[in-house]
């Protein structure tokens, strides 16, 4: 890989994500805290099973078909699928009225939080799924933009919208199968996660990764073979892309949940070797590779000295973030 054609990637360990929404809040405060962006969350954490944000995004089309042609897609509706942010009656609270939203909330970024599946206490379960733009290697948002307003940076693969060229036509939103590009109605432009590129340029990790209280996120270059990201994705193959069937080659990868507690039988006894999160249910999200990934993770867990397990613990920043590889360090030293 040419030094100029590099790709940053993020790995999110779903076993460590506690659904605290620190990432959501830090991103909201940093990037989408102004008018017209009220409803949008470049980072969101949703619950599986659940409908997610925007509601039922997985069924909205987009991406590419087997021939490599853009698939038709839908632009989500603000009130039905994103949810209009609501206000509370703060001004009335002193008159001893009920504290309540002023309008009936319809949907929201974390609507089905911890709704979960299964039956309590037998086999109920849920897990969190944090989602950001995948800075895809084959971004369908870019392919759909008739104004060439979306570009992918060669030096790190970050996908950005050129606000000067964007005309708010929203074919990109229909095209993104993850619905990770959003329309700003106030400015009539489309906006998306920028992988915190101003920080990347300073050698710092994106905010959603550095503010992660569960230390669940790893960030680095895919061609840095000494890096954690490379090892988790390429060497151990335990980090998998979300919905690889969408055909856009996403660059956010997930360590699937493999540590779910065992189920209980009718009497409330533990069923040995059972998993509340069934691997078969993860296939839709992560593809057939999930079986091997979970097998590897479980095997390594039994090995007290596993490099992989140590890597996943990652207590220090340097264990999770790596922005230079040897070659680049050498180039810089020249």
């Amino acid at each position: 890989m040419n030094m100029k054609e590099r790709q940053l990637a993020m790995v999110i360990d779903l076993n460590k994500c506690i659904g605290c929404q620190n990432c959501t809040v830090t991103c909201k405060t940093m990037w989408t805290n102004s008018s017209g962006k009220d409803y949008m969350y470049w980072n969101n954490v949703e619950t599986i099973p659940g409908n997610g944000y925007p509601k039922n995004w997985q069924d909205m089309g987009g991406g590419f078909d087997a021939d490599g042609s853009l698939k038709n897609g839908k632009i989500p509706n603000m009130s039905k699928e994103y949810g209009i942010p609501w206000e509370y009656n703060h001004d009335e609270i002193m008159s001893a009225k009920e504290f309540k939203p002023k309008t009936e909330p319809t949907w929201g970024v974390n609507w089905d939080e911890e709704k979960g599946g299964g039956e309590f206490p037998k086999d109920n379960y849920f897990f969190n799924l944090p989602r950001i733009c995948n800075h895809c290697s084959k971004p369908s948002c870019l392919s759909a933009c008739p104004h060439d307003a979306i570009f992918k940076r060669q030096k790190d693969g970050i996908v950005l919208v050129d606000m000067d060229l964007c005309q708010g036509c929203r074919y990109c939103i229909a095209a993104c199968p993850y619905k990770k590009i959003y329309f700003n109605p106030q400015f009539s432009k489309s906006e998306k996660c920028n992988f915190c590129f101003p920080l990347i340029e300073e050698g710092l990790p994106p905010l959603c990764a550095s503010d992660c209280s569960g230390r669940a996120r790893f960030v680095g270059y895919l061609d840095d073979i000494e890096g954690q990201v490379y090892k988790l994705i390429k060497k151990y193959k335990v980090a998998l892309p979300l919905r690889p069937d969408f055909g856009v080659e996403p660059n956010v990868y997930y360590i699937p949940p493999f540590l779910s507690p065992p189920k209980f039988d009718k009497e409330g006894n533990i069923i040995e070797n059972s998993d509340r999160i069934r691997t078969s249910e993860l296939v839709k999200l992560f593809g057939e590779e999930i079986y091997d990934a979970i097998k590897t993770l479980k095997n390594e867990k039994r090995d007290g000295n596993s490099e992989l397990l140590k890597m996943l613990v990652a207590s220090q920043d340097k264990d999770r973030f790596r922005f230079k590889n040897k070659d680049e360090a050498n180039i810089n030293a020249l």
Partner: protein, 370 residues
């Protein structure tokens, strides 16, 4: 057509009605005039037609369908000039007023566009120009006032707090835009809804950095966007290149004549030829035999395609190379490909082997596709 516009001399029966939009000279200053200005009283409306632009298929299936069925629309148009500046007024009927709303992500605003070639005497591809011939495209839609900062999301939007969102781009080909600074070039647009009609205006200097209309006649094309039909970007109602006669400046007769060319040969035979030769790649009207993204849909090509463009496309398809929706949207159906010498060529073959009368028949039929 990317060379000079030349009169076709060999066509069988060219109709000679010279329709054009007159640019009326008025005293005073037309720069900055609004859509409702009294100055417009000095001119009469000329009626032109705008056809659904369906050559490409976008990835928004609902919008493709609504756009296809949007119907042929009348635009009433006036042009004024004062010697230094020029102003256009468009009036069109629209039952529904669609503006972009603060709390909506999937609705689209009504609006209009005016397209001008950057060079006099060339005719770029009418849909945003081509590689050799650039156009400037002015676009106005009703948007939300960007200073609008109501803190409560549930309060209804004040309809008065809208603005005319005006933008201008230079296009060199299908998907290659450069944003232009409207203020710097003293260009203003206006758009208002009154009694079931939209009134849209544009005023600019006759000659500025981007285009020149200081000539006996020039060409322009006009677009309508109907938010109700989810029209935006390429999906719109589009006129062919129309000729505008600048009254008081000599010349331009030849251009007007060329733009008005119409051919009346044997349409029936043209239809047979079309089915035999073109329908393998092109879909049109109810003839849908070609693979979906193979080539432009020709259902309305006789509407927004001028005759000289149609003729050139058949005889020398490489002169104006039309690209698909975007370069990477349907990579298996690329409309422009590099040949052995690395030169980009259109995948459409030339039909110059046809006899003169066959070409005339085919063109006659193509003209009926609208």
């Amino acid at each position: 057509m990317h060379s000079k516009i030349i009169l076709s001399i060999f066509m069988a029966c060219l109709a000679s009605a010279n329709n054009y939009i007159p640019a009326i000279k008025v005293p005073g200053d037309v720069l900055g005039i609004k859509a409702t200005s009294k100055a417009w009283m000095s001119a009469n409306f000329t009626k032109i037609k705008a056809y659904p632009f369906v050559s490409i298929k976008t990835n928004d299936a609902r919008a493709n369908k609504l756009n296809y069925n949007s119907g042929v629309k009348d635009i009433n148009i006036k042009v004024l000039y004062d010697g230094k500046n020029i102003a256009f007024l468009l009036k069109w009927k629209d039952k529904t007023k669609n503006i972009s709303k603060r709390l909506e992500t999937d609705s689209f605003a009504d609006g209009f566009g005016i397209e001008l070639p950057t060079q006099l005497e060339v005719m770029p591809y009418v849909n945003f120009g081509d590689k050799k011939n650039s156009v400037v495209y002015y676009d106005a839609k009703i948007g939300i006032n960007q200073n609008y900062k109501k803190q409560n999301f549930d309060e209804n939007q004040d309809e008065n707090s809208t603005i005319v969102r005006q933008e201008a781009y230079k296009y060199q080909k299908f998907s290659n835009a450069k944003r232009l600074n409207l203020k710097k070039s003293n260009t203003t647009m206006d758009l208002i809804y009154k009694n079931g009609y939209w009134l849209g205006s544009l005023s600019k200097q006759l000659v500025d950095k981007f285009s020149s209309m200081n000539s006996g006649a020039f060409i322009a094309s006009f677009s309508l966007y109907d938010g109700q039909n989810l029209q935006r970007g390429r999906l719109r109602n589009l006129t062919p290149w129309e000729s505008i006669k600048v009254e008081g400046i000599d010349g331009g007769e030849q251009l007007i004549e060329t733009m008005n060319e119409h051919i009346t040969a044997n349409a029936k035979n043209g239809e047979v030829l079309m089915l035999k030769n073109c329908s393998i790649c092109h879909n049109y009207k109810n003839i849908r035999k070609a693979p979906k993204y193979m080539a432009p849909d020709l259902s309305f090509i006789g509407g927004y395609g001028n005759l000289s463009y149609l003729k050139e496309s058949i005889l020398s398809p490489n002169k104006v190379q039309v690209e698909d929706f975007t370069k990477t949207a349907h990579p298996n159906f690329s409309w422009v490909e590099a040949n052995e010498d690395g030169k980009n060529i259109s995948i459409m073959p030339s039909f110059d082997w046809m006899s003169q009368s066959e070409i005339d028949d085919l063109l006659t039929f193509l003209q009926t596709l609208k």
